[in-house]
């Protein structure tokens, strides 16, 4: 009996001893101490605990790199440029990298571990992303199925965004069977009017978030916004621009036009707005004001199927046909598109067909 107890104790003792060695060595060996992460050539410096993946480390420091899979290395979205301190490319990263990215030192932030001081580069807009408490200040009907929502920012009370960017709005669990979701909408307001954020939303039949915004959300109610996100914006070039968007795709262009007006821009901009019928047209008044304030801007509403009773005297047909009617050579132009994937793909085809270089077509696809 004693022998049996002794033997069990001995074996447990050996196992416990080995476990202890492992625990202690983990504390000693895996302790990387504090590491310094330099972002965008000294724009920001972080002192962090080493040993964790870069993605999680940055998140703890309130820098939100986009990631769809949550750090499992399966989506390839959390790419960032590591200039120093990441070692060589890991086998888990290679499937997501092309030759150009390899040369530039692009890495997956979820796979790279912070082991020492690092120097990384991330898109500048990621610094500015914050969570905002806001309240609905006003709602305005634009068409039968579109509304403009104006939110007043409370905490923080100002958002510095670039015209063309978007915010995410958190739609709460407003009725039974609906979970909290967040949806992205382009900002449709004046970047200088940064105490407010305006969104143009088109009702999606049975949409979770749009139903909430149209039927449940009341003026004065508080909402949560995060942003600003996105790299859709006007380029620094002076090339003449073609804007194509219909419906709520108009939002970023309203913001861009505000920006052009403030800058006193003389850059040529031709906006083709596509609607199915006359009742889809909106913001005609505001567009006319922009045309007056920015002499180089022109607004061209195009109606696909005008009815006789509409007395529509403007352009008819598809918006892409209207572009083709007006232009035969777009090799010197830049294209800006916002809308559904189908509309964007069709527009890209037409623009490139008219000689516009593919890399001069900028777009914001509604997913």
């Amino acid at each position: 009996m004693m022998g049996f107890i002794f033997s069990v104790l001995l074996l447990s003792g050996i196992a416990a001893g080995l476990a202890l060695i492992l625990v202690i060595s983990e504390k000693v060996i895996q302790n990387y101490g504090s590491c310094k992460i330099t972002l965008n050539k000294g724009k920001k410096e972080l002192t962090v605990e080493g040993g964790k993946p870069l993605l999680t480390t940055l998140k703890e420091q309130k820098i939100f790199l986009p990631s769809a899979c949550g750090g499992r290395g399966t989506c390839g979205v959390c790419k960032c440029r590591v200039l120093e301190g990441a070692g060589t490319l890991l086998p888990t990263e290679t499937p997501y990298m092309n030759d150009k990215e390899r040369k530039e030192g692009i890495r997956l932030a979820c796979q790279v571990k912070v082991r020492n001081d690092m120097e990384i580069e991330i898109p500048a807009f990621l610094f500015a992303i914050q969570q905002y408490q806001a309240k609905l200040a006003a709602v305005e009907d634009l068409t039968y199925d579109m509304k403009r929502f104006r939110f007043e920012l409370l905490e923080p009370d100002r958002m510095d965004f670039i015209a063309g960017q978007y915010v995410q709005i958190t739609c709460p669990a407003y009725k039974k069977g609906v979970d909290e979701v967040s949806r992205a909408y382009s900002i449709a307001s004046d970047p200088q009017d940064n105490h407010f954020v305006e969104l143009i939303v088109r009702r999606v039949p049975n949409g979770i978030c749009t139903t909430w915004m149209f039927d449940y959300l009341k003026a004065g109610q508080s909402v949560q916004l995060t942003g600003p996100y996105g790299e859709f914006r006007m380029s620094d070039a002076q090339a003449p621009m073609i804007f194509i968007a219909g419906g709520s795709g108009m939002a970023p262009f309203v913001s861009i036009l505000h920006q052009m007006r403030h800058a006193g821009s003389t850059r040529k901009a031709d906006y083709f707005f596509g609607g199915n019928s006359v009742r889809d047209l909106c913001l005609g008044q505001q567009m006319a004001e922009f045309e007056k304030a920015i002499p180089s801007f022109k607004f061209n509403p195009v109606v696909a199927r005008p009815q006789p009773e509409d007395n529509w005297s403007g352009q008819a047909g598809l918006v892409t046909e209207a572009v083709k009617r007006q232009y035969s050579d777009l090799s010197g132009h830049e294209g800006y598109l916002c809308g559904s994937p189908g509309m964007i793909d069709a527009s890209i085809k037409v623009l490139v067909g008219l000689g516009m270089p593919q890399d001069k077509v900028y777009y914001d696809k509604f997913a």
């Binding site: 060595s25 983990e26 070692g87």
Partner: protein
């Protein structure tokens, strides 16, 4: 062989014995191709020569080190206490703890080595070839020096087999293989033919 039969009391003949055992473990008693141990990683990680070399090197290292550690645990702890029946549990615990520790150390001090070798270490913890080699070492009652040769030789034999297999699989990558045999199927058949080839070494050592 004459030397095998000779008295093994002196260090010199111990070392010679270790060399012979090492050679035997690689060729005549290849742990993979004669005893079919460690098949699962052999089949799943033999697609590319580069990864096969990494895994093979990890096996060589872990096998050599754990046979030595377990020799000590067995002959110095279990045998004096008459607790030999605990050997299976103890061997597994020691292998697992050792591999964990090594993985940690490599991860910390040599990221480059970690990428080439370290990522395979968790695969090896539960590789039956490791436990198999340790048990052979006990059953055959090798001395410590011979155990070094045996552990190393078994590892090298395993590595040789997986690298050869990866080389073959890279070559047949473009071949038209019947659908039902693709992947593990054809790999097992090739492994069988390789094993047959290794039978040719039988008789080289007695």
């Amino acid at each position: 062989m004459i030397l095998l039969a000779a008295n093994t009391s002196s260090i010199g003949s111990e070392v010679w014995m270790a060399v012979v055992t090492c050679f035997a473990a690689i060729f005549t008693q290849n742990i993979l191709l004669s005893y079919f141990l460690g098949m699962c990683s052999f089949i799943s990680v033999s697609r590319e020569v580069k990864t096969a070399v990494g895994l093979g090197a990890a096996v060589v290292f872990v096998m050599t080190a754990t046979t030595i550690l377990n020799w000590m645990a067995y002959w110095w702890v279990l045998v004096p206490l008459n607790l030999e029946f605990y050997k299976y549990i103890l061997f597994i615990i020691i292998i697992a703890a050792f591999v964990q520790l090594i993985e940690m150390i490599i991860d910390r001090y040599s990221p480059a080595l970690y990428q080439n070798l370290g990522i395979f270490l968790p695969l090896i913890t539960v590789n039956c070839a490791i436990l198999g080699a340790v048990l052979w070492m006990v059953i055959r009652e090798y001395s410590l020096i011979v155990t070094v040769g045996f552990g190393f030789g078994s590892g090298v034999g395993w590595m040789m087999a997986i690298v050869a297999m990866a080389g073959i699989r890279q070559r047949i990558d473009e071949s038209k293989i019947p659908a039902g045999l693709r992947g593990p199927g054809i790999t097992l058949i090739i492994a069988g033919i390789m094993a047959l080839a290794f039978v040719g070494f039988t008789g080289v050592l007695q």
